[in-house]
Symmetry: C2
Subunit: 165 residues, 2 copies
């Protein structure tokens, strides 16, 4: 594990997002920091996902994902949706399905729904490109949660290598 | 142009970075917000670049890029390196070449040097994947500059489409 490497990479600023996915039967959601816009025309969003996680199967099957942007006060939501292995992470949370069936959280600061257009293998992750179908700013006054401010909530320090190779 | 669309996409939090590139003869640098880590093992960084910009030719020729992370007080550096068409943007700035020749700014908060491993066309941009060769946290006390806090410095509101298609 490497706390130093985690702290270095936290200087690349990102937000904290709950990514919604769904196949024909089941919706699910997980927390992700590695999300960014990558094109103006067309509007494209890139998402880096761990293909070993259960949600990746739903992402591949459904071909869509939602980006629910979390606000500064929503660290608990980030922790909840960042804990793998729970049977139904959406139970007890206010949400509704987007056009694709992928979940949209009622409490998110901003929402986006994307249709997957391409994938690129990227080390232990897969970089997924999505066309932004629509988006909505729910609360302009809410400050987004910043990944660096979550400390080691996601346990990244245990995953980062100790050194550069 | 769409101020509303720009404001919506600013809720996806990113930092502000000066990207260094170089071919065998000439180094150059440009400001970019769309940079994020995408893999732990190996350490990979994704950068979305506009292939119509002059620096893209240097990025392709050199096969490397540096990420110079700017701090909150470095808005002027972001503006300087974000203005295209200057003959030698590096003149008068303290920098030295990285292993690849790509420029490292002495005043950056943190530095990364990356070797390009893959590319994916992404609308009006190209998503470039780079293996992180090394990185360094220069000033742990410095807060990174956040893209949203630069307002419309980069003129993105004029580039964003008015609506989703």
């Amino acid at each position: 594990m490497s706390q130093a490497m985690a702290q270095l990479f936290q200087r690349i600023t990102t937000g904290v997002h709950v990514i919604g996915v769904a196949d024909a039967i089941r919706p699910s959601a997980f927390t992700a920091a590695w999300v960014m816009p990558v094109s103006f025309q067309p509007l494209l969003m890139a998402l880096s996902v761990n293909p070993d996680h259960a949600s990746y199967v739903l992402l591949k099957a459904g071909g869509h994902f939602t980006v629910n942007v979390l606000g500064k006060s929503q660290l608990a939501l980030a922790a909840h949706f960042g804990t793998p292995g729970r049977m139904d992470k959406l139970a007890g949370h206010a949400w509704h399905p987007g056009r694709s069936g992928a979940p949209l959280l009622d409490d998110a600061l901003a929402l986006f729904e994307c249709s997957v257009t391409a994938e690129l293998p990227a080390g232990d992750h897969v970089l997924t490109l999505g066309r932004v179908l629509w988006g909505e700013l729910r609360d302009p006054s809410m400050e987004p949660l910043i990944y660096r401010d979550t400390g080691n909530l996601d346990g990244a320090a245990a995953i980062f290598p100790d050194d550069f190779e």
